[in-house]
Symmetry: C2
Subunit: 313 residues, 2 copies
């Protein structure tokens, strides 16, 4: 099934035999509670709230859903302890992925990065993957990194390409089309990212990421607009039909995120990626719908990771 928008994600998850298990770390704010209860009501999630209010189940949004919810109050624990307890619920096989409640991102990341009990395997890199649905684009568009790595180095860009590719595959895209973004289409040693892009293309050619189409440098518009390519006389195998955009730095990716969210009324999901499971780290400004979107996107990615792991057995 190819997933073209956020409604398709819900449908896709409903079609699965298994509910995904989300571990919420920390007290849950109103919009997180409702996002989780929506996902449970849709039949696609169960939840464990670690470090939650012990009266959580008395909230009306959870009426009739108690069998799908586990509450672990930790009234005397600090945020680091709560985060680590949540992480343990992934490592012991209880949960499928993490979602941040009312604790700081720093605390949850510290637990994810914990050397003994964390979720980051050696050699893996944490980055941010976002997924956006736009009015005038016929499919979801994946992009990195608008939140974690300010100026990716060559290794980090390689990891980002791998993660974007994996994310596309989880959404049913067999041959992901990945654009390497820069402000012109020229490779130029003055702009080291363009040299990295040459390297990434060469590795892709040698099969590093399997069946993908990758090209760049291209500007944001040429990555998604066939007509812009034609007018500029640029030929690229992506044909203005990219599935994923790799931005050269966090400033550019964050500008893209904020610009589509406000000026193009985009729907967006986002998560920290690269650990054993996605970590939904929504921000203060996110409402219940955007938290729901990030939750179901993370569930889809982790479902794919689980299936891939099973195939590998």
């Amino acid at each position: 099934m190819k997933i073209r928008n956020f409604n398709d994600i819900t449908k896709f998850l409903r079609s699965q035999s298994k509910r995904m298990h989300v571990i919420v770390a920390g007290l849950a704010d109103e919009s997180t509670k409702i996002a989780v209860s929506d996902a449970i009501s849709q039949g696609i999630a169960v939840a464990t709230f670690v470090g939650a209010d012990e009266n959580l189940l008395q909230q009306s949004c959870f009426d009739g859903l108690h069998e799908y919810i586990n509450v672990i109050p930790m009234p005397d624990a600090d945020e680091d302890a709560i985060a680590l307890a949540a992480v343990r619920k992934i490592n012991d096989g209880t949960g499928d992925f993490l979602m941040k409640g009312l604790i700081h991102t720093d605390n949850i990341l510290r637990a994810v990065l914990n050397k003994e009990e964390g979720l980051l395997e050696k050699g893996k890199i944490l980055t941010h993957v976002a997924i956006t649905q736009l009015r005038n684009y016929p499919k979801l568009l994946f992009f990195s990194d608008s939140a974690v790595i300010p100026e990716p180095n060559t290794m980090q860009r390689m990891a980002q390409v791998g993660y974007l590719t994996e994310a596309c595959r989880a959404f049913g895209i067999r041959r992901p089309r990945l654009a390497l973004i820069h402000f012109t289409e020229k490779v130029n040693s003055k702009f080291p990212c363009t040299l990295d892009y040459e390297d990434l293309k060469s590795q892709a050619k040698h099969g590093r990421w399997g069946n993908i189409i990758i090209d760049g440098p291209l500007d944001t518009r040429c990555a998604v607009d066939k007509e812009a390519l034609a007018t500029k006389g640029i030929i690229t195998p992506l044909e203005g039909n990219s599935d994923a955009l790799l931005f050269p730095n966090l400033e550019a990716a964050n500008t893209f995120y904020k610009t589509v969210s406000y000026f193009a009324d985009a729907k967006i999901a986002g998560m920290i990626y690269g650990a054993k499971c996605p970590v939904v780290v929504t921000s203060r400004g996110d409402d219940r719908v955007s938290k729901y979107r990030s939750l179901i996107a993370a569930a889809t990615l982790q479902l794919y990771a689980g299936k891939t792991a099973e195939c590998g057995k």
Copy 2:
């Protein structure tokens, strides 16, 4: 008169006693010809085509407009000579501003930067200023720099603030509100632009740019969205009502430009700024309407510069 959209610019220029004189350098492509003929028909421009086809006036778009057009064919001249001849038409007082025809941007910039006969005064910095009209924003939004300076240094950022301020004033904004863009609202020595921002704010406080409101670092959304500020609990004198955005680097600004142009259906004008006059350097992909927008935006800026100069006499 406060100008809130591109239609207002045409109205504003029509209300002036003087037509602005555009010097077009090089052969004119179809969309440039029509943009110029539109501006002449509107009663707001006269034009000199330097290095143009000698049969230019036989084009039907110029019917009835011959009295407003001067054609200087230079059949044996190369692009550098044509660009320099166009620049001379500014220096000798014939023209008010420059517009690129079918010659390369490099050639026209070389002429602008020419030490003896060019247009860049000592100590001035060339940068790019763009102006965009967005569906869900109540006024024009100015921004720099999506095309010229990849990683501005402190001096260049100072110049950019000055130019953005000047541009806003030319459009009737008495107290320009200028946002300094970064992906968070924190000043952090790991991100040198945020230190520059502190410096810019301090200079603004001491009156360097007159009556302006400047704040940052702020992300793109917090610069323009009052609700995002409220949700995040950020207090800024800009109040999500910025007139101008200074981006930290070209990658971010170019991403903004391309993203609003495609995903938010924005109307955009752009020009190179900082020389004796604006230089309209439209790109291959621009149609007649976007060239017209850049032309009238440049005319407005130069009209203001002229009036300011007169006041100073």
